[in-house]
Amino acid sequence: MKTIKHSYGADLDWVAPFAKQLEGKVNGNFIVVPDTLFKGSRYVLDCGDGIVAYYVDVTNNRDVNLIQKNISNDFIGIYYNLSEGEVKYSSSNFKHNVGRWQYNLLVIDSSLETNYFIKAGSKSYVLCIFIKKSMMASYAQKNNITLRDIDKITDPSKNTIIRFDRMSSESFHLIDDLRKLKVGGPVFDLNLTGTVHLLLSNFFKKMSSVRIIIQTVNESDLANIIAIQMFLINTIEDHFPTIKLMAHNANMSESKFKDLFKKITGKTPNTFFIENKLLKAKELLEGKQLTITQVSDRLNFTNNSYFASKFKEHFGIAPKIFVKQL
């Protein structure tokens, strides 16, 4: 196992030492690391306003333990983690599996020392946003957001903030879209900065709205709900499975299942399913390999017109116009 000690920050000072630790070097915005350790791209971008984005899309070839010990504790790290494989995140008082089907949104105060353990063979896909606490405070004040934890966030001497959460499906698709682009270059920079702003917008909206804190949900219930979400995504091309079936699979009563699903994902099972189906349809249409009829058949819509009307309802334009102007 390889152990790496490093720090992050809301500026670019940490990049060079980190690259050195990884036995690589900094090349423009890229951190180039030899393939024996990781294969893929690491990209750092200063988005202005005290925000730094760190984009990682790599396959891990060795067991690695990343120990994060920050020099300055004036920032918050927001980690959107869509890794597949075994990834553990731990500190002195918590230990969780993270990844696409685990907790995938982490908000960690920089004053915390954490261990990030990656198993060989896992695929990391993480977008980290490091944002200055002062920036967050001024942002909240400017926009009259009443954050319950805002004092805790901004005052380093007080309590630290740790939050394990699931990202909204809107955020998920934003990050997924980013993956389709070639890393590097002005187009990617623009999109990355854009995505960061959109994610922050979602994040603040979520923080300011009263919502269940996911950590308070029973661990096994949470795992079951996430498993059902995964099940829905994997069978996205089929018909909607019944609530009865899903509740049964999750070992819950139907009403409890519906209630909990909505609390955790923010959507009802059916809305969640339809929205993801339509996004899948959009992806298929973007591929330009299938006609609208083929897409609608493949995704098991009863007929074209129903598909078209749903598509229009969700995206605001008809699929035909969408295809035409791609």
């Binding site: 202005g48 926009n143 009259n144 957001i145 682009l181 270059g185 002005p186 187009v187 990617f188 920079d189 623009l190 999109n191 900065t193 854009g194 995505t195 960061v196 702003h197 959109l198 994610l199 922050l200 917008s201 979602n202 603040f204 909206k205 300011s208 973007e286 330009k288 390999q289 299938l290 006609t291 995206f315 605001g316 334009i317 116009i321 969408f322 295809v323 035409k324 102007q325 791609l326």
Partner: protein
């Protein structure tokens, strides 16, 4: 019609003048609320990064207005994305351009050095996003772009015309549509707008870098089907042309679509391609020396009239078939019999 004038700058100061003129309320240096006398709605201005600002308009007018934009010192390009319910008018150099609604083109790029005016439709929702981009910055983006071809093309477009006019690509439409459901008074609106604007600009640059590559619009299945019919044609060169309806049925398309795709794929019509291949085969047959008359050759290829064949042959090779024809005659065989001992004799010497 009421006339208003304003100018743009990357910083929010210019809004004071516009807000005062239309009698609207300016909130927080960002939002201008339209006065009730004109309609209802608002605009939102924010600076995204140094060199890029966004101006978002979302209102319904009750009286017609005309907003004249004066030229200003700043070297800017104005990207105007329009997703209104009705067509709006943009006037540049006294020429009206319709923009917005699903029928018209949705994107105009205007040079800040040239005056223009904007006339939104009355009684319908106007939804437009203007990005103000520093020329230097845009040129930097363009120059840093990996593809060189892109650089050249892009700059020529910008220099020739003071404005540029295009469709908005689908993904950008979705982005703008998503703004429609948001409220500008919402706290998360500003980062959302920033993000959207940057992604729009990214999409725009991406689109222009890829536009050279976007020629293969037909799907793989269609191309396969077309290729199949071509192989069929090549395998049946001895037969008469099987007709376009037959071929299109084979490819599973309408005849008109089939013809169109075929031409796009092979740069020739099915029939012309068939004749061309047939003539190449004819040339082989003529050269083979297996036939004693031209008529035999043309019958082999399913032609009935020698004169028709000759015309087609001449069209392709600019030679008469008889010039290429090598006859199969007994005399030739006799001649070769004579020649063998002659060569042998030569070798003997």
């Amino acid at each position: 019609m009421k006339n208003f004038t304003h100018f743009y700058s990357l910083t929010p100061e210019w809004q004071h003048q516009l807000a005062e003129e239309i009698g609207g309320e300016l909130i927080d240096n960002k939002i201008i609320v339209l006065p009730k006398t004109l309609g209802h709605g608002h605009s939102f201005f924010t600076q995204i990064t140094p060199g890029i600002s966004a101006f978002f308009m979302d209102f319904v007018l009750s009286t017609p207005i005309k907003i004249n934009r004066l030229k200003s010192e700043d070297e800017l390009y104005i990207f105007h994305f329009d997703q209104s319910d009705q067509a709006n008018l943009i006037k540049i150099d006294n020429i009206d351009y319709k923009i917005g609604s699903s029928i018209n083109l949705g994107l105009a790029i205007i040079n800040n050095n040239i005056e223009s005016s904007f006339e939104p439709a009355v009684g319908q929702r106007t939804l437009a996003l203007r990005l103000l981009v520093d020329k230097k910055l845009l040129n930097e983006f363009v120059e840093n772009h990996p593809s060189e071809e892109f650089t050249n093309r892009k700059i020529t477009i910008e220099k020739k015309a003071p404005y540029y006019y295009d469709n908005i690509d689908s993904n950008s439409i979705l982005l703008i549509q998503s703004l429609k459901s948001k409220s500008v008074f919402d706290s998360s609106f500003e980062p959302y707008l920033k993000g959207t604007s940057l992604k729009l600009l990214g999409n725009f640059l991406n689109r222009y870098s890829n536009s050279a590559a976007v020629k293969n619009e037909s799907t793989e299945i269609e191309i396969e089907a077309i290729a199949k019919t071509k192989t069929y044609l090549l395998d049946h060169l001895y037969n008469p042309f099987p007709s376009v309806p037959f071929l299109s049925k084979m490819a599973g398309m309408s005849p008109s679509k089939y013809k169109m795709l075929f031409k796009k794929e092979f740069h020739n019509t099915p029939n012309n391609l068939f004749i061309k291949e047939k003539m190449l085969l004819a040339y082989k047959l003529l050269q083979s020396g297996d036939y004693s008359t031209l008529t035999e050759v043309i019958y082999e290829l399913n032609y009935t009239k020698l004169s028709y064949f000759c015309t087609k042959y001449y069209d392709l090779f600019h030679r008469k078939p008889s010039q290429d024809f090598i006859k199969k005659i007994k005399k030739k065989q006799v001649a070769s019999q004579f020649s063998v001992p002659y060569i042998q004799r030569e070798n003997d010497m």
